[in-house]
């Protein structure tokens, strides 16, 4: 390493102007995208339990086969080295007054992790906001997926905090999931130093 990375600064309260007014991405999956269609509602909550209505959430995820649309992912899936052609894998949305935003996507497949173990299906999540000097990273896993019990990243987390990484299915609306992000408090979300 010869150079020092540029410091991060908060996205501030006016990021909509440059990032989401015309450039938000709610639908990560096209109608042609293969996979199990899901709707994920993310909600951001501050240390006083108040909804954060000026945050931005970005999502990066693999396709239904567990492959990222990226040249550094050289996995050969089902004899194909290319990702689903109807797949990019990126979403970003600003939160609304109630601190929430919704994404339409597909449940990703399992991607390799450390130590030759497959990771459980997950979305990579980054949170930007006024008062957040450097984006926070977390992951959204899927409640009830048996693969969660062998996921090498969940295994790094103390057991009482693991549930903060698990999106919950909506019992009344099949395919709908919710994922709450708490900056602080008893349910403080696990954030990662990537």
């Amino acid at each position: 390493m010869d150079l020092v990375p540029t410091p991060s600064q908060t996205a501030g309260p006016y990021f909509h102007l440059g990032l989401t007014e015309t450039r938000s991405v709610k639908c990560i999956a096209d109608p042609q995208t293969k996979g199990e269609r899901i709707w994920l509602t993310c909600r951001v909550i501050d240390g006083h339990g108040a909804p954060v209505n000026d945050a931005m959430i970005e999502i990066w995820q693999a396709d239904a086969e567990g492959k990222y649309n990226h040249p550094d992912d050289a996995q050969d899936k089902a004899g194909e080295t290319t990702v689903d052609p109807a797949w990019f894998g990126f979403g970003r949305m600003p939160t609304a007054e109630d601190g929430s935003c919704e994404f339409e996507t597909i449940k990703p497949g399992r991607v390799p992790g450390s130590g030759k173990v497959l990771q459980a299906p997950h979305l990579n999540v980054a949170i930007f906001a006024r008062g957040v000097l450097k984006q926070l990273y977390t992951r959204a896993y899927f409640g009830g997926d048996p693969a969660n019990s062998e996921d090498p990243v969940i295994a790094l987390v103390p057991p009482p905090r693991r549930q903060t990484l698990i999106a919950q299915p909506d019992a009344l609306r099949p395919g709908h999931w919710s994922f709450d992000i708490h900056f602080q408090g008893e349910q403080e979300t696990v954030f990662f130093d990537v």
Partner: protein, 240 residues
């Protein structure tokens, strides 16, 4: 670390040097108090999930996307400037096809945003948003007007130094950078907790663009250089 089911290994990205990045909690910046994690972050070894990310090489950039002075019928009021620089990784290698998005206040210090209601005029000829891609040398260029300082409510008589917000997508989701570029000699630096939140003085100075006579256009615009460094990775994969 780094071993994969298909026997490939992953070259790990460098971790940030201590002091080069702001902490989550910086009390003088009051909004951090309720919005910063209280528990330590959990260190992740880098897997495909971290080292991949959206790539924008095929993105279509409109003709006026990187010229914020030509997005309306007339020219915006203010000091016309050229902002240019390179995006490099921390090994000094250029990052081509990096998507850079910018947003800023107008010359009076007012954002075209419903939440900014402070009594300074909007400019019908200025939106204050732009984007571009770096070329094969990692270079980018914007034409815009110099934003004004503006007041906020963080503390008594609080004013933000003039700045342009930068959002950068490099090669990986972990190289994602959102930052702010400042202008040399701003008297507000000493009073600004966002700028002062970066512990290392040298790292902080890297957010201040440099006036550049070579970039300056005669009879037309002042030039400023702002280079951006994203995290880079080890040359060789870490074997499992």
């Amino acid at each position: 670390m780094g071993g994969l089911t298909n026997e490939r290994s992953i070259a790990q990205y460098h971790r940030m040097p201590p002091g080069s990045q702001p902490p989550s909690l910086y009390e003088p910046y009051r909004s951090t108090v309720r919005r910063s994690p209280t528990k330590p972050l959990i260190v992740l070894p880098h897997t495909l999930s971290e080292i991949t990310g959206p790539l924008y090489g095929h993105e279509k950039i409109g003709e006026t996307d990187n010229d914020l002075t030509r997005q309306h019928a007339g020219e915006p009021v203010g000091e016309r400037i050229v902002v240019t620089g390179r995006v490099l990784d921390d090994n000094g290698r250029p990052v081509p096809n990096a998507l850079i998005e910018v947003w800023q206040a107008n010359a009076t210090g007012r954002y075209r945003h419903h939440s900014d209601q402070h009594p300074a005029p909007l400019d019908l000829n200025f939106t204050g948003a732009g984007r571009t891609l770096t070329d094969e040398n990692g270079s980018y260029r914007f034409v815009t007007i110099k934003p004004g300082a503006y007041p906020w409510f963080n503390h008594y008589n609080a004013w933000r130094p003039a700045h342009i917000h930068f959002s950068v997508f490099g090669r990986a989701f972990l190289t994602r950078l959102v930052t702010q570029m400042y202008f040399p000699g701003d008297p507000l630096f000493a009073f600004d907790p966002v700028f002062q939140s970066i512990p290392d003085e040298k790292a902080r100075q890297r957010l201040i663009s440099v006036f550049d006579l070579e970039t300056t256009q005669p009879q037309w615009a002042l030039g400023f250089r702002f280079d951006i460094v994203l995290r880079g990775r080890d040359a060789t994969p870490f074997e499992a």
